[in-house]
Symmetry: C2
Subunit: 506 residues, 2 copies
Amino acid sequence: MPNPDDRLARLRDHLAGAAHLAQAAALLSWDQVTHMPSGGAEARARQMATLARAQHARWTAPELEELVVALETDGVDGAPLAGDDAALVRETRRLLDRARSMPADLVAAISRQRVRGRQVWGQARADDDFASFAPELRAMLALAREQASAIAPDAPAYDALHDLYERGSTAARVAALFDPLRDEVRALVVAIGASGVRPDAGILRREFPEAAQEAFAVATVREMGYDFTRGRLDRTVHPFAIRVGAGDVRITTRYRTDFLGSALFGTIHEAGHAMYEQNLPAQHVDTPLGGSVSLGIHESQSRLWENLVGRSPAFWERAYPRLQAAFPGVLDDVRSEAFVAAVNEVRPSLIRVEADEITYHLHVMLRFDLERALLDGSLAVDDLPGAWRERSRALLGIEPPNDREGCLQDVHWSQGMVGYFPTYSLGTLASVQLWEAMARDLGDLDEFLREGRFAPLLGWLVEHVHAHGSRHEPEELLRRATGAPLSSEPYLRYVRAKYGALYRLA
Amino acid sequence: MPNPDDRLARLRDHLAGAAHLAQAAALLSWDQVTHMPSGGAEARARQMATLARAQHARWTAPELEELVVALETDGVDGAPLAGDDAALVRETRRLLDRARSMPADLVAAISRQRVRGRQVWGQARADDDFASFAPELRAMLALAREQASAIAPDAPAYDALHDLYERGSTAARVAALFDPLRDEVRALVVAIGASGVRPDAGILRREFPEAAQEAFAVATVREMGYDFTRGRLDRTVHPFAIRVGAGDVRITTRYRTDFLGSALFGTIHEAGHAMYEQNLPAQHVDTPLGGSVSLGIHESQSRLWENLVGRSPAFWERAYPRLQAAFPGVLDDVRSEAFVAAVNEVRPSLIRVEADEITYHLHVMLRFDLERALLDGSLAVDDLPGAWRERSRALLGIEPPNDREGCLQDVHWSQGMVGYFPTYSLGTLASVQLWEAMARDLGDLDEFLREGRFAPLLGWLVEHVHAHGSRHEPEELLRRATGAPLSSEPYLRYVRAKYGALYRLA
C-alpha cells in the first residue's frame, strides 16, 4: 500500500496524463484546419478516435476511482481536504463520474459520428442541400439523447447536455433570462430602425490589404495583453482559440480584403478567449482545476474585449488614427465618429457570427427554441428548415432565402453540441456585468481605453476570473466578481446608453 | 474466449492504437520545430513523455503478448501463418520483445534526458562550449549502455544499438564495408585535388531570393513525384521528413539567400525520404509491416533523388534553363557545364551535412570510430574534442578551429543515437546499387532524366523497395531488388566514372 500522503501527488500525475492526451488531441485539431494536407484527413480521424479512447480509459481507470474515494474518505494526513485540494477532488469526481457513466462504445460512436457529421454538414452547406444532412442530424440527436440519459438519467435531456457547457445552468434558468431580454432587445431594434439614423457601413467594405489587416490586428491584441511568446495567430475558415498546452494558446482568424470587420473583431474576440486561457492558474496546470470553468465565462472574456473594448468610442479615439495610417488613403475621408457608427451598426441579418451585439441574442434565442424542440422530438428533423424560416421571421423580421444561410449555417448540431448556443448570450450578459464591476473598482474605464492602458483591465480580469480556474461554479465565480448573480440589467443599461447615443434615441 | 479467427483483426486493432499514438507524437515533434511558440516548450516535453509512456504501455500490454503467442502457436483457422500474416506477427514479436525488455523507468529516463540533452547541446553548440555539454553526453551514453544491455544482453552494446536503426547489421559488417571504402575514397580525393580542375563554386553563393528558391524546389520535387496533396513543405533550422499519418508525410527545408545549394538539394533529399513514406503499402497501414524497414534503406531513397538524379549532368540539361529563368539575371553568365561542376565540387570540409558525395563517407567514418570508442569507454568524453580534431586531420586533412564545427556539430549523440551514423553511408552505397539495378531494368536512365520522365523511376522504386514496407530484412530487400548483398562496388564505379569525367582524371 503506497503512502496515503502522496495520494494527491498521484492524483495530479494521473490527471496530468489525461491532460497531455487532451492537449495532443488539441494540437491535432488545430493542425487539421491550419496545415494538414487533405490526404491526411482519414488518418486524422483515426488518430483522434484513439486519443479519445485513451482519455476515456484514463478517466475510467479503477486506480483513479480508488484514489478519489480514498481522498474523499480519508483526506490527507488524517484531516479532511480543504481549499484547492478539496476543489480538485470535487472537480475530479464530477468528471470521473461523467466519464464512467459513458459506455466506451458510446464514446467511440459519438467520436465517429462527429467526424462523419462534420464532413456531411460541410458538403451539405456548400451545396445548400439540407436533405443530405438530415440523416446525420437524426443520428447525432439520437446519440445526444443517449448521452444525456447516460450522464444524468434523472434530469431533462436538455439540462444534462447544457450542463456540459455551462455547469449548474438549466433550460429554465436560460428561459428566465431570455424571456424578458427578448422583448427588450426587440423593442430596441424597432426603436433603432425608426430612428432614421443610418450609419454608412459601406466604409468597412472598401479594399483593405490582408498584410496590413494582419499587422494591425496583431498590434492591437498584443497591446491588449495577448502574449505571442505563448501563442500564435494562423488563418482558418472558422476562427477559434485553442489551448495546446500551458504556455501555448493559439488563435486563428480569417481575412476578407473587402470587409475590415471580419479579421479585426474576430482576432480581438479570439484573443479575449486566449487571454483567459493564458492566465489560468499555473499551480493547477494539467488538472481540471487549472481549466476554464464554462463556455459562458469564456464567452464573457471574448465579448468583453471585442465589444466593450473593441467597439467602444473611447477605444477608437486613440486607435482610429493608427488604423487610418495602417491603410494609407483608404479611410482618409472617414471621420472617427462615422467609423465608430459603422462598426456598431444595428441591423437584423441572417448570419449569427456577423450579427451586431444587440440582434445577436435573437439568433441565439432562435437556436435555443429549435434545439429544445429537436431534442424532445416535438420538432421533426425534416421540418427544421421551415421552422427556422418561421422563427427567423418572427424574431428578426427576415427569412433566409436558402438553408445555407438558414439552418445549415452553424456547425454545432452536426457535432452533437445541443445546449451550447445559450452560452453565447450568457457570456455576453456576463461581459457587461463584469465590466460594470471593473468600473466600480478601477473608475472610468473610458479613460483607460483612451490612453491604451489595457494592463489594469486585464489585471482585474485575471484577479477576478482567470486566476480562479475551475475553483468555483460559474454562477458563484460571477457573484464573487460582481456581487450579483447573472442578470440582463447591466447589459440593457449598457446598450441603452451606447445605442441611445449612437442612434440619437429619445 | 473470443473467436480465435479474429485474432489477426484484434492484433491489427491493437497495433493501430500504438501507431496512432506514435503519429500524434510525430505531429507534436513537427509542430515543435515549425510553429510552436517558445512558451510551449515545457508543456511539449511533458506531452511527449506521456505519449512515449502510452506507446510503451501498449507495446507491453499482456493482451498483445497473449495475442502474439496464440498466433505463433495456433496460427489462424488451424493453419500456421504464411506470407504477410507471418511477417506481421514476426515484426510484432520483434518490437514487442524489445519494448518488454525496456523497463518503463528507463524509457521515461531516456525521454527526459533526450529533451534535456537536446536543449543543452543546442546552447553548447551556440556558445562553442563543449564542457557544458560533456555531463549530458556522459549521462546519455550511460543510458545508451543500459538500453543496449536491456534489449540485447548477449550482443556487443554497439551492435544492439546499431540494430535499432539498421536491423541485422553489426559493427563488423560496417567495418568490413568501410575499411576498403576508406582507402578508395581517400585515393579519389587525392586524385581530384591533384587534377588541377577547380570548379567555380562561388556561382552558388550569389544572391538567390527565397521565394524563387521555394518555387523552384517545390516544382522540382513535385515533378519527381512528391505528392503535395499528401504532404507539405515548411521551414526549419534542421531539414527533415516526417510521417504524420497515412496520406500525410511532411518535409521541411531551410533557405539561405547566399547559397543556392542548401534549400535545393535539401528539399530534394527530404522529398526522397518522403516519397518512400508516401508509397509504403497501404494495406498494412498502422502496422509495423507498413513502416519503412531501416534508416539505411531510407537514406538510399533520399540520396538517390538528391545525388543520382539531382546532381547528375543529364538532369540539369533539362533543368538548368528553368533554373536560370527562375532567377532572372543571376546565372545568365554561367554555362550549364560550370553549374554542374559547381554542384559536384569535391573538397574536404568540416561540416558533414555540407559535404560532397565523396568526402561525406569520411565524416561518417570519423563518427563511427569515435562513437564506438565512447560507448566502450576507451575514449573518455572529456577527450572527445581532441580525438575529433585528430581524426579529422587524419581522414580529411583539416582540423576544425572550434568544437562548434567539430564534435558539437551533430545532434545525434545528444539524443542517445549511437550506431545511427553508419546508416548514412550504407544508404549512399545502397542508392547506387539500386540505381544500377534500375538501369538494368529500364535502360539508359540519363534518357529519363533528360526528358524529365521521373514516374518510371519512382515506379521502379515503389515496386522494388517502397511497396514491401518491412516485409523483408534490409539486406534481403536489397538482394531481391538488386540481386546482390550491399556492396561498395556500384558506388565506386559510379563516382569513378562521374568524377573521372568532371575532374578529367586519367
